[in-house]
C-alpha cells in the first residue's frame, strides 16, 4: 500500500493518527524513564549496600537467598538469611512469621520492611519470586544428579 495512492483525506487522517501516537509514545517514554526507579518493585542488594535505601522507611528489597545462610531460631518463627545478587553484593534479612512455600535457598525473594542503621533489613512480609522455568520433578531430580541444565544450552 503506497501512501501516495491513498486519497488525500485518508492519508491526512493516517498521518494525524500516526503523529498523535508517535508524540504520545515519545512523551510516555520520557515519563517512564523519569519514573524508572519508582517503577522498580524492589531495591537490589547493590542499592542496599550503596546506601540508596532510606534508613527506617518502609521499602521493598530483594535478591536471591544465599545457600547455607538460613538461620532459624528454636521455638519461634524468627528467621535470618542473607540475600545476594549472585555478583558479590549481599545483605541480611530478618523476619518473624510464616514464609511462602516457595521460599528456599537459591530462590528469589522480595521483602517489605525497613533497613536499619547497621544494614540489616527487618522484613514484615516476604514474597517468593520464582524463575520462568518449569519442569517435572523427575527431570529436576535427574538434573540435580548430573548438575546439568538442558534448558540452558
Amino acid at each position: 500500500m503506497k501512501l501516495g495512492a491513498m486519497k488525500p483525506q485518508r492519508r491526512n487522517r493516517l498521518l494525524l493518527i500516526l503523529g498523535l501516537v508517535g508524540g504520545l509514545g515519545l512523551a510516555l517514554t520520557f515519563v517512564l524513564k523519569a519514573l524508572n526507579s519508582n517503577i522498580n518493585l524492589f531495591y537490589t542488594p547493590v542499592q542496599v549496600i550503596a546506601g540508596e535505601v532510606p534508613i527506617g522507611a518502609r521499602v521493598r528489597a530483594g535478591g536471591m537467598v544465599e545457600a547455607g545462610s538460613i538461620r532459624r531460631s528454636d521455638g519461634s518463627l524468627e528467621v535470618a538469611f542473607i540475600v545476594s545478587d549472585l555478583a558479590g553484593a549481599a545483605f541480611e534479612i530478618r523476619y518473624t512469621g510464616i514464609l511462602p512455600d516457595l521460599f528456599r535457598e537459591g530462590q528469589g525473594v522480595v521483602a517489605t520492611g525497613t533497613l536499619s542503621q547497621d544494614g540489616v533489613f527487618f522484613a514484615e512480609e516476604i514474597l517468593a519470586k520464582h524463575d520462568e522455568k518449569y519442569m517435572p520433578p523427575e527431570v529436576a531430580m535427574a538434573l540435580d544428579a548430573t548438575r546439568q541444565d538442558p534448558l540452558q544450552p
Binding site: 485518508r10 487522517r13 493516517l14 493518527i17 498523535l20 501516537v21 504520545l24 509514545g25 510516555l28 517512564l32 524508572n36 517503577i39 522498580n40 518493585l41 524492589f42 537490589t44 530483594g62 511462602p100 512455600d101 516457595l102 522480595v110 512480609e125 516476604i126 514474597l127 517468593a128 519470586k129 520464582h130 524463575d131 520462568e132 522455568k133 518449569y134 519442569m135 517435572p136 520433578p137 523427575e138 527431570v139 529436576a140 531430580m141 534448558l151 544450552p153
Partner: protein
C-alpha cells in the same frame, strides 16, 4: 486485494459469508479446549517447585496472551475505522471490547489466584501486573466511550482514538519484566530460545492457546453479526432476511 477489502467491508457480504464459520469455530473451540483441559489438568506433569499449582498456567497464560492480542486486533479495527470510515470496523471495535475486558479480567484473576500460593500475595503493584490492569481499564474505557452519547459517530471516533493510543501499553506489558524489577518472572517463551519448559508442559499450553483463540473468534463473530443486523435493521438485506 482492494476488491476483497471492499467486499468484506460490506455488512451484507460479511454477514452472509461469515455464517458458515460459526459451526466450524464452535466445534474447534469445544474440541480443542476440552482436549487441552484434559491434557493440561490430568496428564501434564506437576512442576518441580510449584507442584500442582502450576496447572493454573493452562488458563492464565492463554488468557494473558489473548488479552494482549485481542487488544491489538481491536486497535487495528479502530485504525481502519478512523481512516477508511468503514462501518463494520467500528462495529468490530464495539463488539470486541467487552470480550477483551473479560479475558483480561480472567488473566488478572487467575494470576491473582496463582500468586497467593506461590508468591505469597494476591496482588503487588509491580510493572507487569499494573500494566495489565491498565489494559483492562483501556478495554473498559473503549467500551464506555463507544456506548456513550447514544451510539453516535463521535462516540465511535473517540473510542477508536483511545483504542489506537492504548496500543502504547502493549510493549510496556511485554517488556515490563525486562525493563524493571518485578515480582512476575520473565517470559518462558521467546522467538529465539527454546521454551523454558518440556513439551509435556508446553504441548497442552499451546493447545489451550489455540482453543482460546478459536473461542475468542467465535464469540467475536457472533457478537459482530448480531451488531450488524441491529445497525442495518432498516436496510433491504436485513428486511429480506426477516421476511424469510
Amino acid at each position: 486485494m482492494w476488491r476483497w477489502f471492499h467486499q468484506w467491508g460490506s455488512p451484507k457480504f460479511f454477514y452472509h459469508r461469515s455464517g458458515a464459520l460459526i459451526p466450524v469455530l464452535a466445534l474447534a473451540s469445544g474440541l480443542i479446549l476440552g482436549a487441552g483441559v484434559f491434557w493440561g489438568l490430568l496428564i501434564a506433569p506437576a512442576d518441580y517447585q510449584q507442584g500442582e499449582s502450576v496447572r493454573i498456567m493452562y488458563v492464565h497464560v492463554p488468557a494473558a496472551i489473548l488479552a494482549q492480542s485481542s487488544y491489538a486486533m481491536m486497535a487495528v479495527m479502530a485504525l481502519i475505522s478512523l481512516i477508511w470510515r468503514l462501518k463494520i470496523a467500528d462495529a468490530a471495535v464495539q463488539t470486541v471490547a467487552p470480550i477483551g475486558a473479560c479475558i483480561t479480567l480472567l488473566a488478572l484473576a487467575t494470576g491473582s489466584l496463582w500468586g497467593k500460593p506461590m508468591w505469597g500475595t494476591y496482588w503487588v503493584w509491580d510493572a507487569r501486573l499494573t500494566s495489565t490492569l491498565i489494559l483492562f481499564f483501556l478495554f473498559a474505557g473503549v467500551l464506555a466511550l463507544r456506548n456513550a452519547a447514544g451510539q453516535s459517530q463521535t462516540a465511535g471516533r473517540a473510542a477508536s482514538v483511545l483504542a489506537v493510543i492504548g496500543l502504547l501499553n502493549l510493549p510496556i506489558i511485554k517488556y515490563s519484566v525486562d525493563w524493571w524489577f518485578t515480582l512476575h518472572q520473565p517470559a518462558s517463551f521467546t522467538l529465539t530460545d527454546r521454551p523454558a519448559m518440556p513439551f509435556s508442559m508446553w504441548g497442552p499450553l499451546l493447545m489451550m492457546v489455540v482453543g482460546f483463540y478459536a473461542w475468542f473468534f467465535l464469540a467475536w463473530l457472533i457478537r459482530l453479526r448480531h451488531e450488524l443486523v441491529k445497525r442495518e435493521i432498516r436496510s433491504d438485506w436485513v428486511q429480506q432476511m426477516m421476511k424469510q
